[in-house]
């Protein structure tokens, strides 16, 4: 087996491992949203209209996925200065998302929906908090990957890491869109 073939095997293994990790995160949210659904079906449910901050944060996280997409493309075509710009934009959008979520929670509290009130509100708080934890984790990893890939000289191995990072990022993005839509639906 040649070296590059061996390396490809490991790159595939890592990507595969990442998918497994995403599958287990997906199971966590499946559990939480099923609990949401079952509880909603039991009645005595406060339906919460999501505050405007959550709408904005949704746009922001979608934008961050788009900038990440182009960042990766820029790196692939060895356009490093553009890559640098786009990847840090992604990073800043990620921070903006977290701040907006935080403002969203404050706004919910301002309209009288408290964490310890009716489960209809509590679920939204807790599920979105657990989601934010995954975004924070993503940001930490993104910071590491960005620093490494912008400071160190260009290296084909970087693209692989950026690819893995992008997959994770798009995943938490889609996860939020799913949750966002889920919270808006009156199931019962």
């Amino acid at each position: 087996m040649t070296l590059s073939e061996e390396n490809k095997k490991q790159a595939n293994a890592q990507r595969f491992g990442l998918y497994l990790g995403l599958a287990s995160i997906a199971m966590l949210f499946t559990a939480l949203t099923s609990a949401f659904l079952v509880r909603q079906g039991a009645g005595n449910w406060l339906f919460v209209n999501l505050p405007i901050q959550f709408w904005i944060s949704t746009v922001v996280i979608i934008l961050s996925s788009i900038t990440f997409y182009y960042a990766k493309a820029a790196h692939a075509s060895a356009n490093i200065s553009q890559y640098r710009l786009l990847i840090w934009t992604t990073f800043i959008l990620g921070i903006a998302f977290i701040l907006l979520q935080y403002m969203g929670w404050l706004a919910m509290a301002n309209t009288g929906v408290y964490l310890d009130g009716n489960p209809g509100g509590s679920f939204i708080y807790v599920i979105s908090m657990v989601h934010v934890v995954h975004v924070v984790l993503g940001l930490v990893l993104l910071a590491i990957v960005s620093i490494r890939t912008t400071i160190k000289s260009h290296n084909p191995d970087h693209l692989h890491k950026i690819g893995l990072m992008a997959t994770y990022w798009h995943f938490v993005d889609f996860l939020w869109i799913y949750l966002f839509i889920f919270f808006q639906i009156k199931f019962f």
Partner: protein, 626 residues
């Protein structure tokens, strides 16, 4: 150095390792580099010091041993706890002064334990044995030891995540251990942690700080399991040696693969349940709590939650969890039975398919733990049907194990004895499962000693037997020495007979309605007739526990003094872990990884006693063991 320099630039080769197959080894290591490419490993990699080799090791074999030794530690604690509460059940009048000495006098005034202490003991006993010993100790040990060795890989896909998996487990254990010594004691709400008892701090002593620590500890534990499982699956599916197709995998590997998949899909659900519980406990939410009036406190502020929701989430993990515990034992036992019967495992493909079927069904039967929760009877009948379906793949497995031994020239080793014992236990405990799977019968038997008997035989003791079989069998691979046979047989007979003595009588107690999780049955006239039986059970439990000390002694003694291994393949087995050097270095094979040509169960084929997996197929030879 040259090829590597081209590829990895500045990385140094670990000179301490006894590897000659440089190209391969460095590439396997490449995976590590992707993750910790900070440059620090350039430093003193060749000075493999103590910390690197024994503590923060990334060698899967060492991590496997770490899981095993930690598992043994917890087994002694968890088992010891059971002896203490069995004393309360069998001999409530005998004062136990050591309880006060270890845990503080308030738990056992004058040597008589309090009900709160009893609850703490059973909770910790269940948690420790189910999760720390039979999940981490069993899967962690054998997945780490066997996966790379039996599929022909240098190490796990990510040795660093693998190491982290162990250290999260260690941390989980540390937190659990500390929880024994906080003022309100460890958690005392039983291992299933049902709310409202677990969700309201004021509801019992065991619901206070101990329960917080339990939740923290379990969260670490879940992270550990996920990291481990992710690695095991990735490794098995991506890093197999040349020729090692899925159909040539030893059944141990199939079992560990399916176990890891179950864990990866079910542990996150437990984490979700635990997160909601933590919020209910600490943030005043009402996920699991509805209006509750507590004497001495008044009305609780919670409203609108449902405790049954927790049970659904818990058992969605909980039922797959029991298979996470037993599947590795399935794999080990299949391997050991075939090797020592000198016959191919009967129906390799059926063995794999039945494990897959059991694993798939495991996700659709959780409500059989909830027949008495007011479940809609129609829904209940669906769960009865799905539950009883599990009997089919289970029966296939039992049939195939027995057929493998049928008319075999059996070689009796301690590992083989424990494997045969496993089959016996699995039959005994599986049969009572069929009783319990019928909701009409379960309504009578639920929460009685019948349940305790059922799951200790089919899961607790059986999984321990799988673990013992594995340790006796692969001890030479771990330490280059054999465990003492005589001590092994004594250990087997006492444990086998003793375990039946402990758990068989419990069926009768359960059928008579004796409830589980009671501190004392003395107040109930109708249960008094079981006093003598309870004493007998307690004595048997103590004897069995003492026999385990013999095992631990044998283990430690043999590590240093055991008979040395001289033959590479002492059991004359086909699998490729026996082609490595006696004390394999990090990287496992000195030369290139062997190529695999045939399935793992070519025993007694074409007049040959055994044909290792590395032997090429002869012209015209067929793989008749499908």
């Amino acid at each position: 150095m040259s090829e590597k320099d081209i590829h990895h630039g500045h990385h140094e080769h670990p000179k301490g390792a006894t590897i000659t197959d440089h190209v391969h080894y460095q590439d396997t290591e490449g995976v590590i580099r992707f993750e910790e490419d900070h440059g620090h490993h350039d430093a003193d990699r060749n000075k493999k010091n103590f910390i690197h080799t024994y503590i923060f090791s990334t060698d899967h074999k060492m991590i496997g041993k770490q899981f095993l030794i930690t598992g043994i530690f917890w087994a002694l604690i968890g088992g010891g706890l059971s002896n203490i509460f069995r004393m309360q059940l069998g001999f409530p009048d005998v004062p136990l002064h050591f309880i006060g000495a270890i845990f503080g006098d308030k738990w056992a005034p004058n040597g008589v334990m309090t009900p709160d202490f009893y609850n703490m003991l059973i909770t910790m006993h269940g948690t420790i044995l189910v999760f720390f010993v039979l999940t981490a100790g069993l899967s962690g040990t054998f997945a780490n030891l066997l996966i790379p060795l039996q599929i022909g890989a240098r190490d796990m896909a990510s040795p660093v995540l693998n190491m982290l998996s162990y250290w999260f487990f260690f941390l989980a254990g540390l937190v659990m251990f500390i929880s024994f010594f906080v003022p309100s004691g460890a958690a005392g709400v039983s291992w299933v942690f049902y709310p409202p008892l677990s969700a309201i701090r004021e509801s019992s002593v065991g619901s206070e700080t101990g329960a917080d620590l339990w939740l923290v500890s379990m969260s670490f534990f879940i992270v550990s399991s996920l990291l481990g499982g992710l690695n095991y699956i990735t490794t098995i599916l991506n890093l197999r040696a040349k020729g090692m197709s899925m159909a040539k995998l030893p059944l141990t590997i199939w079992a560990l693969l399916i176990t890891a998949i179950l864990g990866l899909l079910s542990f996150p659900v437990l984490l979700g349940a635990a997160i909601l519980l933590m919020f209910d406990r600490s943030m005043g939410t009402s996920f699991y709590l509805d209006k509750i009036y507590m004497s001495g406190i008044g009305a609780m502020p919670h409203e609108g939650g449902n405790p049954i929701l927790y049970q659904h989430l818990f058992w969605f993990l909980g039922h797959p969890e029991v298979y996470i515990v037993i599947l590795p034992a399935f794999g080990i036992v299949s391997e050991v039975l075939a090797v020592n019967s000198r016959k191919p495992i009967f129906g390799y493909r059926a063995m794999v398919l039945s494990m897959l079927a059991i694993a798939a069904l495991a996700f659709f039967v959780w409500a059989h733990h909830m027949f008495v929760t007011g479940l809609n009877p129609f829904v209940g009948s669906v769960f009865v049907f799905l539950t009883l379906l599990i009997a089919i793949p289970s029966a296939i497995k039992v049939f195939n194990w027995i057929t493998t031994m049928w008319r075999a020239n059996i070689r009796y080793t301690p590992a083989m004895m424990f494997s045969v014992g496993f089959v016996s236990l699995f039959i005994s405990g599986g049969l009572t499962g069929i009783f319990l799977g019928n909701s009409a019968i379960d309504i009578q038997l639920h929460d009685t000693y019948f349940i305790v008997a059922h799951f200790h035989i089919v899961m607790g003791v059986a999984a321990f037997f799988g673990m013992f079989a594995g340790v006796y069998h692969w001890f030479p691979k771990m330490f280059g020495r054999f465990m003492n046979r005589t001590m092994g047989f004594i250990h087997f007979w006492i444990t086998f007979v003793g375990s039946y003595c402990i758990f068989w009588p419990m069926h009768y107690q359960g059928m008579a309605g004796v409830p589980r999780r009671y501190y004392s049955h003395g107040a109930f006239e109708s249960f008094n007739k079981f006093g003598g039986l309870s004493e007998f059970i307690t004595i048997a439990a103590i004897v069995v526990f003492l026999a385990q000390l013999l095992f631990v002694f044998n283990y430690l003694y043999s590590m240093y003094r055991g008979k040395k291994m001289t033959d590479l393949n002492p059991w004359k087995a086909n699998t490729i872990e026996w082609t490595t050097p006696i004390n394999p270095g990090h990287g496992n094979w000195d030369g290139p990884i062997p190529t695999v040509h045939r399935g793992p169960y070519d025993y007694g084929k074409d007049g040959e006693d055994f044909i290792p997996q590395t032997v090429p197929m002869r012209p015209g030879e067929t793989t008749h063991h499908g």
